[in-house]
């Protein structure tokens, strides 16, 4: 049974008017671009610059939001909100958490969307 916290396919399908092909397209786009996104996140966290972290996390959150409000979304959003308020002390740990969630999320996408 799929973990609805990791990925609930009903959410994006509802937003996309049940267009599975479109969901596949954006899932593939997300998976292809994900390494670049994570790299941007890592660079931002390494710089310790709250504004950079905020921008990168905001963008990442936006990308994941296309697939619903899952655990990866919440992890990205936490980093987004903290950085917006200038809080960077937990950024490195949060990034690890985000990477973990994204890994599971991508696996779910491959399994439930791309393989469907």
């Amino acid at each position: 049974v799929a973990d609805k916290d990791v990925f609930n396919i009903e959410e994006p399908l509802k937003a996309l008017d049940n267009n599975m092909d479109l969901l596949k397209d954006i899932a593939q786009t997300f998976i292809d671009d994900c390494p670049h996104k994570l790299e941007t996140m890592r660079d931002a966290v390494a710089s310790g610059d709250a504004e950079r972290i905020h921008r990168a996390a905001h963008s990442f959150k936006g990308s994941i939001s296309n697939f619903g409000r899952n655990a990866a979304f919440h992890a990205a959003n936490k980093m987004n909100l903290d950085a917006r308020e200038g809080k960077t002390d937990t950024a490195a740990a949060d990034l690890q958490e985000l990477e973990h969630e994204v890994e599971q999320f991508i696996a779910a996408l491959r399994d439930q969307v791309l393989a469907a």
């Binding site: 008017d17 397209d25 905001h58 939001s65």
Partner: protein, 338 residues
């Protein structure tokens, strides 16, 4: 219809591109605010723009403000598509010039509805602009035609003035001719008087010659006969002279009669000139009325043109405020009254 997408997220680009294609729109994609502005600043830019808020280069807010400040009457319907979801964010976007605000994750049906609303508005604005442009073009043409008509009226009025002046000149020449004729007749009158005197003289010569004939009977011989013959000849000549004088006086009297007739026609001519002046005044009044009507019509056309421009401005179009060239009217200044 072309729709601009400004977003740096590849998923958003894919999602929007494919959806727009499916809905029958042509997507123009830009991955930064700067790239989007390069497209939107052009005159013939896409009429609908879907803007992300946060992206590299200019952000969505700045883009929206720039589009609204653009010196062009091409309206762009702006939809914000962003994961910023606070009320103050929505208000900021609308104040910057956004027409609608869609929160990420995008709900396609919601987005499609906003795009359709945008298309309706753009079509309405374009139709209205076309109507307004046509109206202004027609008003300008009408105004130009009226200026030409006004010119013709002025020319006609001037021609009437010239004709009237010529009639007055002719009337003056006729009066001058009559003066000269009068002088001539006065001279003739004097000649007539002299001729009358001559007639009297010839009568006296006749009597003298009769007396001379009587006296010659008292002279004896051939001398008396010769004297009587000469007296008779003188008498005959006096009679002939009397007849001539009588004939000339009779002709001169006819000339005097003609003068009376000619002077009689003077009144007729003066009456004709007076009637012509009356006609001119009526004509002139008609020209003035026509000129006043043209003035009113010109003013109404200018007001209509201004209203059309004001409506464009009210409607949010950045139009060039080109007023109709005002031309003072004029026949009144150019026509001389009698």
């Amino acid at each position: 219809v072309r729709v601009l997408i400004a977003d740096d997220e590849p998923e958003a680009i894919t999602l929007l591109q494919k959806s727009l294609q499916e809905w029958g729109f042509e997507a123009v994609t830009c991955r930064s605010g700067d790239e989007a502005w390069e497209v939107l600043k052009e005159h013939d830019c896409p009429p609908i723009a879907i803007l992300d808020w946060m992206m590299p280069g200019k952000d969505g807010l700045e883009l929206a403000r720039l589009v609204r400040q653009k010196e062009s009457d091409d309206y762009v319907y702006i939809i914000f598509l962003t994961s910023k979801d606070r009320s103050e964010d929505v208000i900021s976007a609308l104040e910057a010039g956004a027409n609608s605000y869609v929160k990420k994750p995008v709900n396609l049906r919601e987005l499609h509805s906003y795009i359709n609303t945008g298309v309706m508005l753009i079509h309405y604005i374009q139709g209205r602009k076309q109507f307004s442009d046509n109206l202004k073009e027609k008003i300008t043409k009408l105004y130009e035609a009226m200026k030409i008509m006004k010119g013709s009226i002025t020319d006609l009025a001037s021609a009437t003035t010239i004709i009237n002046q010529k009639i007055k000149d002719l009337s003056g020449s006729y009066d001058h001719f009559l003066d000269m004729l009068n002088t001539f007749i006065e001279i003739i009158s004097e000649v007539s008087t002299k001729l009358a005197e001559m007639k009297t003289l010839s009568g006296q010569i006749n009597i003298i010659s009769i007396n001379a004939g009587i006296e010659s009977t008292r002279i004896k011989g051939s001398s008396g006969k010769g004297f009587a013959a000469v007296a008779n000849e003188i008498r005959q000549l006096a009679l002939v002279l009397k007849d001539y004088t009588k004939g000339i006086v009779s002709e001169l009297n006819k000339l005097e009669d003609s003068r009376t007739e000619i002077f009689g026609s003077k009144d007729v001519i003066h009456e004709d000139v007076r009637k012509t002046e009356e006609l001119f005044n009526v004509q002139r009044a008609e020209f003035d009325k026509l000129d006043a009507k043209m003035k009113n019509l010109s003013e109404e056309l200018r007001v209509l043109h201004q209203l059309s421009l004001d409506e464009d401005v009210k409607f949010g179009m950045k139009v060039e405020k080109k007023e109709l060239e005002v031309e003072e009217s004029s026949s009144s200044d150019e026509i001389e009254l009698f």
